[in-house]
């Protein structure tokens, strides 16, 4: 096995016998198995990296069952001092699993699809909503991300309506490629970096001043992974919620008040990885005002919407709805009428489990703009 870093050893040793974050782990409370909790995964990885055991297929599956949502870090009272980082440990282990040719078939299939088609679902790029884009020079480049590009074009349409209404010149990337984020999360760093290089090149060629991103995974990649991999982007990078807020603050974008009770499903990759909690709230409050209500779990204690729930027990994308259901229940508990989501994945996972209205933040703004 690959030599493990000291930070990962510290995490292994701290987490292997500590069950104190387990109630926060969404994967354990889908399967109810101890091996799907942070402690269980740390025990299994300890056996491999410090115990001299080989990976077996069920341990590998447990490593791929993690949603990388970071809840374990948020709920760890020793994290600040110890710096324990289960998601980083899992990502390290996945890279190691991949490097030894041990990735499960379902993961390999997603990898192949990303490499060949730039999406996780083996879809032809002609089916994407950027297939017919004609690129142009503009200050704003809007990057959709896979979910919006392939399964939720209504989110892109809503954002484009706002840009049109504001008379903002923008461009998209034709056949928008993958950012590489999904590949990296699955353990394929080399392929991820190649895709990242391609994406960075396309962005630079677009020559924009501001990159506005819908997908939290892509946002996280551009903000954190690309600089770490030496890919420097000169443009400002904003999530759509941050961009909408700037339009609202400048007085350019005005939203009608809504009388509906609105709540917000935080995003793990925007929130926990990048600290973006307030911008989407301010956008929602610009319309909902006092009708905005928090669910029981929010900010750093958010419930995962399954943004990185690629595989679970070898079944790709099957468990996202179970995460969405947990959010729906909490929204219904507070009698919300609208759930605002921050990614296509979250929107789909939540909408599949509730009769409440579920919309992306750009749809919320587009529907209410004056």
């Amino acid at each position: 096995m690959t030599k493990i870093t000291q930070n990962n050893i510290d995490t292994l040793k701290a987490c292997r016998y500590c069950p104190m974050c387990r109630q926060s782990c969404p994967s354990e409370f889908i399967s109810y198995r101890e091996s799907d909790a942070p402690r269980g995964r740390a025990i299994l990885l300890h056996s491999v990296y410090l115990g001299g055991k080989e990976f077996d297929s069920s341990a590998i599956q447990a490593i791929y069952n993690c949603f990388l949502c970071g809840a374990c870090k948020s709920w760890c009272s020793g994290q600040e001092l110890g710096g324990y980082d289960i998601p980083e440990l899992i990502k390290f282990a996945r890279r190691d699993i991949v490097s030894h040719g041990l990735a499960p078939q379902s993961v390999q299939e997603i990898r192949n699809s990303l490499v060949e088609n730039d999406n996780t679902r083996n879809l032809d790029s002609k089916l994407s909503c950027t297939a017919l884009v004609v690129e142009k020079t503009a200050d704003v480049l809007y990057i959709l991300g896979e979910g919006v590009n392939y399964t939720n074009p209504e989110i892109a349409e809503a954002f484009i309506r706002i840009l049109g209404h504001q008379q903002i010149q923008y461009t998209l990337l034709k056949d928008e490629p993958t950012s590489g984020k999904e590949l990296d999360l699955l353990g394929y760093r080399k392929e991820a970096q190649e895709k990242a290089k391609n994406m960075a090149g396309r962005i630079k060629a677009a020559g924009c001043k501001t990159i506005v991103v819908s997908d939290p995974l892509v946002y996280d990649a551009l903000k954190n992974d690309y600089p770490a991999w030496g890919l420097k982007l000169e443009s400002e990078i904003l999530h759509v919620s941050e961009y909408l807020l700037s339009l609202i603050r400048s007085g350019k974008l005005k939203l009608k008040p809504t009388q509906m009770k609105v709540t917000l499903a935080d995003s793990e990759f925007l929130g926990r990885n990048n600290g973006i909690y307030e911008a989407p709230r301010e956008v929602v409050r610009a319309s909902a005002g006092e009708n905005f209500a928090e669910m029981q779990w929010h900010h750093e204690y958010l419930q995962s919407a399954g943004e990185a729930a690629f595989t679970f027990d070898g079944s790709a994308f099957k468990r996202g709805e179970e995460l969405g259901r947990k959010i729906s229940i909490k929204a219904e508990d507070i009698n919300a009428e609208v759930i605002v989501a921050l990614s296509a994945t979250a929107k789909n996972n939540i909408a599949a489990t509730t009769g409440l209205r579920v919309m992306d933040i750009v749809e919320f703004a587009a529907n209410l703009m004056v």
Binding site: R16, C18, P19, M20, R39, S47
Partner: protein, 475 residues
């Protein structure tokens, strides 16, 4: 035979809820017991095997539990019930293989009755999850242990758990109204609807603390309380442990009804309080707390302070008291908690006020004189009208490298320290249970009355399938 039993279990719980995966067997072979952790920690380069289950089953309800137990009886397969796996006594370890019965799917909240102030839940619910749901309605069980985040309600019942508010609200056994229990032979029974009757022995108390040896508690109705309007704390340093114990005893006997009293020995004050709370003081740190209506709490705080002042405590104020409350779980997280390669154990016991200091001194002397490589610290955290519990701990920084030698040392300390405690008026344990760790000492604790418990076991579990090797029952 294995494959035949597998199919029977799958028919009961569903294929996805029966695991024979290597990863599950490995993870369910380690709970919070030091020996199981050490055994795993030192596997590199050694021919070490840990006892592992053959099947891990996740039943959804009492009916499924019942069917699993009937299969287990048919084939005489050991069954070990597993809640959160956070027990420190090895009680959930499948030492003779067989079936691990993970209860966590039985996690429903069936009914919150705000008139009777009770909640009915499946025992597989993680306690913190229950508390969060109650909190939404301004309610709480007031059972607040550090393990709330990781342990199940059933786990607390299995080993008679307690929480930091026990001095006012009691231990888990004081909070139980009624229970649904699956007997070892598969019958599903319910205890009486209320616990305070004159209808013979209280069946609840047979199963509470039985650690999965007499059946599986699948549903429980617990008492609940309204969240208090006010909760206040105050901390003091007393010149020594004896003074601190006297203050605690007075807070109880003068009927001030504190919800929290926690007194740390001089050396734990120096080591742990400094590490977690950053308070560097010489003496014994004591924090007390009250909750309820604001005016009543203020009055209780006033009278409590008067006692502390009379005993010449150095007042650290309410803020440093509240700081303890805020950080009360932090003690149990890494890097604050003791951890391998250290060898450590919590020698918790309980005794009357007349005996408790002698118990502390007897255990301290035994550990420090016979085992100079060990440190001994302790605090007193659950107080009753007649006495209090001692949460003593030993810590060895560099135990023997050889795992068998390390276990021998570990067990020797437990034997000697607990025999000293029992001789001075203490018992084997107060709220962590007996499990595998203390099983051998249980007949010694009970003397000739142990036969009663053994007869009960034989009657309820004729094939001795339930958690063999634990609670002094052997196999």
């Amino acid at each position: 035979m294995f494959d035949m039993v597998l199919f029977e279990l799958q028919d009961i719980a569903g294929k996805e809820h029966v695991s024979t995966r290597a990863s599950d067997k490995e993870v369910y072979s380690i709970d919070y017991f030091w020996i199981s952790e050490m055994w795993h920690d030192r596997q590199a380069g050694r021919d070490i095997t840990r006892p592992m289950a053959d099947f891990i089953v996740h039943p959804a309800n009492a009916e499924e539990v019942s069917k699993v137990l009937k299969v287990a009886n048919n084939y005489k397969i050991p069954v070990t019930t597993w809640g959160g796996g956070s027990g420190s006594q090895g009680g959930a370890l499948p030492v003779f293989g067989g079936i691990i019965l993970d209860t966590k799917r039985m996690d429903k909240i069936y009914k919150i009755d705000e008139k009777s102030m009770t909640v009915e839940v499946g025992t597989g619910i993680i306690h913190q999850t229950l508390e969060w749901e109650l909190e939404q309605k301004g309610l709480s069980t007031m059972h607040d242990p550090a393990s709330a985040r990781c342990a199940t309600v059933g786990g607390f019942i299995a080993h008679r758990g307690t929480g930091v508010l026990s001095t006012k609200y009691g231990k888990i056994e004081d909070m139980i109204v009624n229970m649904e229990v699956v007997l070892p032979t598969g019958e599903i029974i319910n205890t009486l609807p209320v616990p305070k009757t004159a209808c013979g022995p209280d069946l609840n108390q047979i199963f509470i603390g039985s650690e999965g040896t007499l059946g599986v508690v699948t549903k429980v109705t617990l008492t609940i309380h309204r969240l208090p309007e006010s909760r206040k704390f105050r901390a003091f340093i007393f010149k020594d442990l004896s003074t601190g114990l006297r203050v605690g005893q007075r807070l109880i006997s003068e009927n001030l009804q504190p919800s929290v009293i926690r007194l740390y020995s001089e050396n734990e004050t120096k080591e742990v309080i400094k590490k977690v709370l950053g308070i560097e003081k010489t003496g014994a740190y004591l924090v007390y707390g009250f909750d309820g209506k604001q005016e009543m709490v203020d009055l209780q705080m006033k009278y409590a302070k008067a006692i502390a002042d009379q005993e010449e405590g150095e007042d650290l104020g309410t803020e440093l008291g509240a700081e303890w409350w805020k950080n009360r779980y932090k003690f149990f997280f890494p890097p604050y908690m003791f951890h391998l390669p250290q060898c450590f154990g919590t020698l918790d016991t309980v005794a009357t006020f007349s005996d408790i200091e002698n118990v502390y001194n007897a255990m301290k002397e035994v550990v420090e004189t016979r085992y100079p490589m060990a440190r001994f610290i302790g605090h007193f955290s659950h107080w009753f009208p007649w006495g209090c519990m001692l949460y003593a701990r030993f810590i060895i920084e560099t135990p023997p490298e050889d795992p068998h030698e390390a276990i021998y040392l570990h067990n020797s300390i437990w034997n000697d320290a607990l025999r000293a405690a029992m001789k001075a008026g203490g018992v084997l344990n107060e709220h962590h249970g007996i499990g595998l760790k203390l099983s051998r000492l249980t007949p010694e604790l009970y003397g000739n009355s142990f036969q009663i418990i053994k007869n009960l076991k034989k009657s309820l579990d004729p094939n001795s399938i339930m958690n063999p090797g634990k609670l002094g029952f052997g196999v």
